[in-house]
Point group: C3
Chain length 363, copies 3
């Protein structure tokens, strides 16, 4: 599913926009594996959505609905799924314009690696193992026994705790903390302020106080996982909290201890998953969804925004659920509609009661 978002203005102002130097439609076609439909020499300098594209911008037409908008766009050329959508203007035909857009942007702006080496002002313990090509900025910390894999980048203030390990080609943003013993796979991106391995929220009442249950487990983040800014993932009480490969976690998401998340799932902003719950493969939690503890969410299930799953709740594979308490999405919509008819229904009920009373008297 595409989560690309298009701006309404000022694309040209984007410092990091793929606008350095100019490029040709041929270069685009070659990079994205597309076919040029309307051949015409165009000199492109940028990439922008239909609404804000200028006469030197490449744009894209996601589907037929957008073809109308394209007709009004000043863009010089388009990525299209069907040549006809471009109305005879220069275009590159590809199976998926959003995918082609992603590929082209990657081509135009490969991620910045940072200068390899340990900067002065970085704090790297002598027992830490730092692979080749690693960039560690001033103010970053790598604690005793920790490992950082080849070509990974630690921005200022990033922290890798005792015996923790970071894979290859990872990026840890400013202030990211991967705490003691936690393991992060290859090609993971942890955005600013993300925390991996904070203690699980585990206590037992001893008659006088909430006594802390030492959280002695860890966290395992598999390959190709992205974790959003200020998101938090707790370590397990025992064993491990696990996030499956390719899963993407948005900003301010909370993952409790011993949670296990399958591969290629999507957790949107401010969603939360409480202790020991399990998410399958390809699950989608929309924004602000709450999954209580010991719940189980089946493969491919979709929980819509703000949905709430109760303790030990079960969501079947492929289901789409909404609301709190969560219902199948259609049922949720139906009940919302029915609630709007309740007032009138109560009046009709009262009218019937009067009619009935009259009839009895009459009879």
């Amino acid at each position: 599913m595409a989560r690309s978002r298009v701006p309404r203005r000022g694309a040209g102002t984007a410092r990091r926009s793929a606008n350095a130097g100019s490029f040709t439609l041929e270069e685009v076609a070659a990079a994205v594996g597309g076919r040029i439909a309307a051949v015409r020499a165009v000199r492109l300098t940028g990439v922008a959505p239909l609404e804000s594209a200028g006469p030197a911008d490449l744009s894209w037409i996601a589907d037929e609905r957008r073809a109308r908008d394209a007709a009004r766009s000043a863009a010089a050329a388009f990525l299209v799924p069907d040549a006809s959508f471009a109305g005879g203007r220069p275009c590159v035909v590809v199976p998926s314009p959003p995918l082609a857009l992603a590929v082209w942007l990657e081509t135009r702006r490969p991620p910045e690696r940072g200068a390899a080496g340990v900067a002065r002002g970085a704090h790297v313990h002598r027992t830490a193992k730092i692979a080749r090509g690693v960039a560690i900025e001033a103010g970053a910390t790598v604690a005793a026994g920790a490992r950082v894999g080849a070509r990974s980048r630690l921005r200022a203030g990033a922290f890798v705790g005792e015996d923790a390990s970071i894979g290859e080609d990872c990026v840890l943003g400013p202030g990211v903390a991967v705490l003691a013993g936690c393991r992060v796979g290859d090609r993971c991106i942890l955005h600013a302020g993300a925390v991996v391995g904070s203690d699980g929220f585990g206590y037992v009442w001893d008659g006088v106080r909430h006594r802390k249950i030492p959280q002695v487990g860890t966290v395992r983040i598999e390959d190709d996982v992205e974790i959003g800014a200020n998101a938090t993932i707790d370590r397990a009480t025992l064993g491990e909290t696990a996030v499956g490969r390719g899963t993407k976690i948005d900003n301010l998401v909370q993952i409790g201890h011993n949670v296990v998340i399958g591969e290629h799932s999507i957790l949107c902003g401010q969603a939360g998953v409480a202790g020991s719950s399990r998410l399958g493969r390809g699950v989608t939690l929309a924004g602000q969804v709450g999954v209580s503890d010991h719940a189980s969410i089946g493969d491919g299930a979709v929980l819509t925004g703000q949905a709430g799953i109760a303790r030990r709740g079960r969501v079947p594979a492929g289901a789409v659920v909404s609301g709190m308490p969560a219902l199948p999405h259609r049922e949720f919509l139906k009940r919302a509609a029915l609630a709007g008819r309740l007032e009138a229904a109560l009046e009709r009920l009262a009218a019937l009661e009067q009619a009935m009373a009259k009839m009895r008297k009459g009879g």
Copy 2:
């Protein structure tokens, strides 16, 4: 709208309370542009709400309702909208006591600037441009090509990324990150842990995995914006995410990529706005409100606590909406009340059915 909150105790214990040295009612009147009603020499040493004020404290009476509480207060003098509210005790008459309170507190405790200069242990790239009067604390980082405007303050651990720019008279709290290419206006306050410019949450399924759509846009924060602790604002995919001047964003708020927020809006704690949604001027999002993607919230609209706006949802200017799915606030309250009558209604319905059945038999 006043969001000032009053403590119930211990105002005197506030280290940073405006309690250094003593002051007179004349000084207060002059500073806030008020008129002294009941003239009497009073020696004031502090400021406190009615409940906790002592005999040397200045307090305030927001409205008539609070006049009763004032009669029981030990305060020495009051800021009042109407002299009669003070019951003959010393007071300064002003149009708005909360506003006068704000002005007086500003007068008594101008914000701390910090010592100008770059502290040892700060990491400032040689290509960064630092204006006069800037204070950069040990452990703060300013990356290549970044700019910091006059008199701005970077606390320990603050990070300003490549080519980012910070305006004049700003404060970046500990651990704040303003990432590559993002622009912050003048007089902005970013509280501890706030992140500006993390990647938008944009992927496209390529048949095998969620492929990252490079987020090559930026964030533009206009003048006089305040951003709460650990709040997160994502950069645009292309173009920019924008927060209008004078808008105030509370702690742990999430702003998605390409969101555009108008001027003087208020986003309360833990509210979230998903990608490409647009908020007008003077919008209020109460705590934990969720606005899904591509939604549009009109000028001056108010979304009450935990309200949820669906994908592509529209809230008209000036509307007050509640609940999920969101409804006009009155309709929301009415439905909640009607739901409480449903059980009895079902019983009445059953009774009618029986009566009807009997009648037919009878007939």
Copy 3:
């Protein structure tokens, strides 16, 4: 209440698991004050839940329901409330297995203190008062006039602001900020990225803009409080925001200015409490609960997941409430069930109306 969570796999992989060296059932019994029921020499090397325990692991049986699972467990021995639950296998009888588990894990892995002293690369102001046994890591900051109590530990990037004070035996994780003038008691744990003392969200509209009300109060955190990763607690406008002793706050929780929370309360992940609200003793806020401003929550009250309390709302002591608007939990469940009957009820109503109409014609 026990919030301990059990993993489903790989307990043996936990670096910090209590698995260093082997131990005997006698040692366990002595440490937790239990009685060995089925005497047999067992050599234990680890601790794991029933599902993942191996033949050298100690496990626990929380209650009779779990006794069946225990029969299938490979564990070598069990902590049990009743000897019969162990089915004749080696066990230690204790009043509360979760509590005994906590005690044993503490015994096996006392919290790491860190090396006492101020590391090179730490920034400690000359006027700060650092007690004996304190460990301050490189990249941590202690500002002018601040105090840090005996044996407390500041991890990399931790920040203690001007005149703030940290008690004894505290741990401040990476990137924690305790801002100017705030006070933290003894034995408190602040997890990575937690912020104490950010400005309260207080403004007053001056006709042109939201004017900031200077937040000159502080925060007081009492003894034995734990604050989760990236949680935020605002300072008071005047006076103080207060968190009572023994209260546990989970990740990403937001506490507004002038909030007062009683002792031994539990605030789960992503809960939020707005300005000036008061929570009693032993209150439980489940995940994503929202308490609006000036509300009051009685002692021992429980708010279930995503519950919402309105402005100035009152929840009586001991109540269990759910939903938004919040209702007594039973009423909430009843209404959810009744809503499912509404569609059929509307059909019955229509049928009755027809019957009535027919009868009248007929009559």
